[in-house]
Amino acid sequence: MSSIKIRTKRKNGKTQIRMLIAHPMEHGRNRDAKTNTLIPAHFIQELTVKLNKNIIITAKTGANISKDPFFAFILKGGNDGDKITISWVDNLGNKDTQAHIIK
């Protein structure tokens, strides 16, 4: 299952894009409660949102974003059948992509 959940909502000619990503977003200063060792930094570094084939958002994110990050954006316009593709890359090189069709 993908780590990304996407919802879109059309209102007054605009489209709200909301996304929820499952990710620990560790900043590297927390300690493991049992072993008292530092938990290594593990956070999403880059988020890309595409509308059809064009990149509309590139975000550089840091570990100040909450665990399981949530983002929302508002798109001017947006039509039935437009495809939103969201992908992320974290500091360890993991990545994921998910597509969503606006209805």
């Binding site: 956070f43 100040n64 929302a72 500091n91």
Partner: protein, 154 residues
């Protein structure tokens, strides 16, 4: 027994060398990414971060940026923030938390297809000012909002 131990040491040395190469290769693959990493994972003051991000660009305080942030956040681990702006030609929105060990939270580069609107959730370590810097085609504008955190989220 000795042979086994030697073989084990050899293997582990080789493995760690490999992983160092792998991670360094990953970092040098993109200079910008490496720079962003150092911005977000080394501890810097707000002033240093601003200097590094925006060089010597002039940042003007503006009342055309609206930050929706709770005045008191019970749980600093997830503080909702919504930034909107009435400025024209917004190119990017950066969010910084002044007193966090690494102030920079995120920088969103938005295409003209999008409204100047960003909503997310932040980790805030202690009561602090949250600063938003909006880049337009004409220059940089900033606004700030204070938040009181009762339980730190770092």
């Amino acid at each position: 027994m000795t042979d086994n131990r030697r073989a084990f040491i050899k293997k582990s040395v080789a493995l760690s060398a490999y992983s160092i190469i792998a991670t360094s290769g990953l970092l040098s693959s993109s200079e910008a990414t490496a720079k962003w990493l150092s911005d977000t994972s080394s501890t810097n003051s707000l002033q240093q971060t601003l200097k590094r991000l925006f060089k010597d660009q002039e940042i003007i305080a503006s009342d055309k940026i609206d930050i929706q942030l709770p005045k008191i956040a019970v749980n600093g681990a997830a503080v909702p923030i919504t930034v909107t702006s009435t400025l024209k030609d917004v190119e990017s929105i950066a969010i910084l938390v002044e007193k966090n060990p690494t102030p920079l939270a995120a920088k969103f580069e938005l295409s003209p297809d999008l409204d100047p609107f960003v909503s997310t959730r932040l980790k805030i370590a202690e009561s602090s000012e949250v600063m938003v810097i909006v880049e337009t085609s004409e220059g940089f504008y900033s606004a700030g909002e204070k938040v009181i955190v009762t339980l730190g989220g770092c």
